[in-house]
């Protein structure tokens, strides 16, 4: 029995240690769970590289008109600038033949030239690749956020209906989800945009709608699962007892507490959404020829497969932009997956 006696100083020591754990302002603000995620992301070297890449592309998108100024008086800056209609690609550094855009401020300092050249070369048909890659960044981010936002909205709506009401509605919705998951993603998205194109015309919308229609399922399942667990919490019961309406319980109590995992997963899917969109336009579905978007730029390289070692720039520049963009998202996503994986918890590597 004597062994079990703990003297006062030991007890004080234990309490002292406990109270001494430093809780930073950031942790207080974000809450322990969310703080752990944020902290993990910003201390992992790979995810820092990822963040830097993403920021880099966001800056390019914001400053696109300054980096690659459109011709004066153009109505649509997303239309890639064309320098003549020559069937042969021109190498990087070739002079502009036709009217070139105005020189931006950074140009002469960085390149040491006083006239526009094709910095990244041109594809066949005189499309300027530099202009295409820069404005394509805008398209990528625009499309990524738009598609991801719509997909998420649809997923959350469907998933929360299933999770909140349960019963036969849940069964029905989950069967429908299964049906949609049976469809092959790219092929179905291609089909739907092919059906939509004659009615709504070429542009960003057919592919956007198609990718949303066949992309919401995983978010619906994710949020449904989280809602099912949140629904049983005491505070939801309390809200019900005081007579809150269904929609109030749903939007004020359940969704705010269940939404974070879905939001995090969804925001990191922007990279893969951009790839799917680029794949569709690579295959010739979606935007019109000459619209600044990376998938289409890469597809210019398809015309020159046997001569690609000669005309490498058509593939390398837009391809690199796409790969680095996706790499940025994946690096952050990979770090996040490790942080959120309960098996890796407490293991500070």
């Amino acid at each position: 029995m004597a062994d079990l006696v703990i003297n006062d100083s030991q007890v004080n020591g234990l309490i002292g240690e406990y109270t001494e754990r430093k809780v930073s302002k950031a942790e207080k603000f974000l809450g322990p769970e969310f703080y752990r995620i944020v902290h993990g992301i910003f201390t992992n070297p790979l995810s820092i590289i990822g963040f830097t890449l993403i920021m880099f592309f966001i800056l390019i998108a914001i400053f696109a008109p300054q980096i690659a100024p459109p011709l004066e008086g153009t109505r649509d800056p997303y239309k890639i600038l064309r320098d003549g209609y020559s069937p042969y690609p021109k190498e990087p550094g070739a002079d502009w033949v036709k009217k070139a855009p105005e020189l931006p401020g950074w140009y002469t300092t960085l390149t040491g030239k006083d006239h526009w050249v094709h910095l990244f070369g041109t594809a066949s048909g005189g499309w300027d690749l530099f202009y295409g890659v820069i404005w394509g960044t805008r398209t990528a981010i625009k499309v990524g956020v738009l598609i991801e936002g719509l997909t998420l909205l649809l997923g959350i709506l469907i998933g929360s209906l299933a999770g909140f009401y349960g019963g036969w509605l849940d069964t029905l919705i989950m069967r429908v989800t299964e049906i949609f998951q049976t469809f092959p993603f790219i092929l179905s998205a291609m089909t739907l945009s092919a059906i939509l194109t004659p009615t709504i015309g070429k542009g960003l919308w057919p592919a956007t709608i198609a990718l949303v229609v066949f992309g919401w399922m995983s978010y619906a399942r994710l949020i449904r699962g989280d809602i099912l667990s949140v629904r049983e919490r005491d505070y939801v019961m309390a809200a019900r007892v005081v007579g809150a309406t269904d929609s109030r319980i749903m939007f004020q109590h359940i969704i705010p507490n269940a939404i974070y995992p879905t939001l995090v997963v969804a925001s990191l899917d922007i990279g893969s959404v951009v790839v799917s969109f680029a794949a569709l336009s690579f295959l010739g579905i979606g935007t019109e020829v000459g619209y600044a978007d990376w998938g289409q730029l890469v597809s210019f390289a398809r015309d020159w497969i046997p001569q690609l070692s000669k005309y490498w720039w058509i593939l390398i520049y837009p391809g690199m932009a796409l790969v680095l963009f996706v790499l940025g998202w994946n690096l952050v996503g990979d770090a996040l997956r490790d942080i959120m994986d309960p098996r890796m918890r407490g293991n500070d590597a």
Binding site: T191, A279, S299, I305, D334
Partner: protein, 354 residues
């Protein structure tokens, strides 16, 4: 266990009904003139002829009547023969392929299957192997290297990677050409001296004793296989690594080590078999996905499989053809998901014995 399997099998018709309904929903958003391709080869320009076709095949009927006819076929008023009906394998006529859809599938599906069969071994084998190495050397250099290698692969869109390998291994030196077979070999295959037993060119070449054709066919498949493998390795590496790490932390592994089992046997005989279970699920899904047509990869390499047929049909807005492919792929997915789930249940002792 058997109850679970029965429930899963009973669900298949329900899901199939939903899938076909959705597909027909997309079909019926076309105008009746386009849907005529379900029954007739040449769509007439003449409006009167068109009207009589619409009338004759009931393309103006209510949705569910048309759906039923599309599903089971309809009896021709004049001849009494059954026409159309996807259950009978009649998907109508393909504008982009200039023949019946069923014939396109028959001609192109073996090419896809052949490519997929050759891809599976490097795709899954190397991915799993990398995952094991990464887990065994957890957090050491080799682990970090494998992870970066795989994240990079995961970040390459297949069309960029495909064009890149074409640039390096074809445009420069002509080593591995795109397509399925060279022209000279194709001529021999179509001639009388060559018998096609299986429509898998490599197998047929072996059976005919033509090693030059076998070599030619393999050469054409190298780049698509590399592309499919590299972009999928990341997935297998990640799953295998994390499930191997989990297995290595289990009590039975500690027990084995405590008994003095060699580390090699601990990894290969104790940890690996259990760590492989989640990989089985993923392998099944991956194979099903590949069989559904590796749309983009086939298109880049100009490989005449079902994926590139689907892509070119979609680009030409030939909805009838693509939807048939979507249905076929969906069916493959459904059946293979069932197989995967049942295998999973048999492999995992916790599920099997419950």
């Amino acid at each position: 266990m058997s109850q679970y399997i029965i429930r899963r099998i009973l669900l298949i018709p329900v899901i199939l009904f939903g899938v076909t309904l959705l597909i027909f929903g997309m079909l019926s958003s076309l105008d009746p003139a386009e849907r005529a391709a379900l029954y007739v080869h040449d769509i007439p320009k003449n409006a009167q002829v068109m009207d009589s076709i619409i009338d004759r095949y009931g393309l103006d009927d209510p949705f569910f009547v048309q759906y039923w006819h599309w599903l089971t076929g309809r009896v021709d008023i004049d001849t009494g023969e059954i026409e159309g009906g996807i259950i009978r394998g009649d998907f109508g006529y393909s504008r982009s392929g200039n023949t019946t859809v069923a014939e396109i599938i028959e001609r192109r599906f073996p090419a896809t299957v052949e490519l997929v069969l050759y891809s599976i071994i490097p795709l899954i084998g190397v991915g799993v192997w990398l995952g094991i190495i990464a887990a065994v050397n957890h957090n050491k250099f080799i682990d970090q290297f494998a992870r970066i290698f795989s994240i990079l692969g995961y970040s390459f869109p297949s069309f960029v990677f495909g064009l890149l390998v074409l640039m390096l291994f074809y445009a420069n030196n002509g080593w591995f050409p795109p397509g399925r077979i060279s022209d000279w070999a194709n001529m021999i295959i179509n001639s009388a001296e060559f018998t096609s037993y299986t429509n898998f060119i490599t197998v047929d070449a072996l059976l005919n004793g033509r090693f030059d054709i076998l070599w030619d066919a393999l050469r054409h498949m190298v780049l698509p296989i590399i592309t499919l493998s590299y972009i999928n390795w990341a997935l297998f590496l990640r799953v295998m690594r994390s499930s191997m790490l989990e297995a290595l932390n289990q009590d039975y592994v500690t027990t084995a080590r405590a008994k003095g089992v060699r580390e090699k046997d601990v990894i290969n005989k104790h940890a690996r078999p259990n760590a492989l279970i989640p990989v089985v699920t993923m392998a099944g899904i991956t194979i099903a996905n590949l069989l559904g047509g590796v749309t983009i990869t086939e298109t880049i390499f100009n490989y005449p499989g079902i994926g590139s047929a689907g892509a070119s049909a979609a680009v030409q807005l030939d909805v009838i053809t693509v939807l048939a492919f979507v249905l076929l792929t969906g069916l493959i997915m459904l059946v293979s998901n069932l197989i995967v789930d049942i295998t999973y249940a048999f492999l995992d002792p916790r599920v099997r014995l419950s």
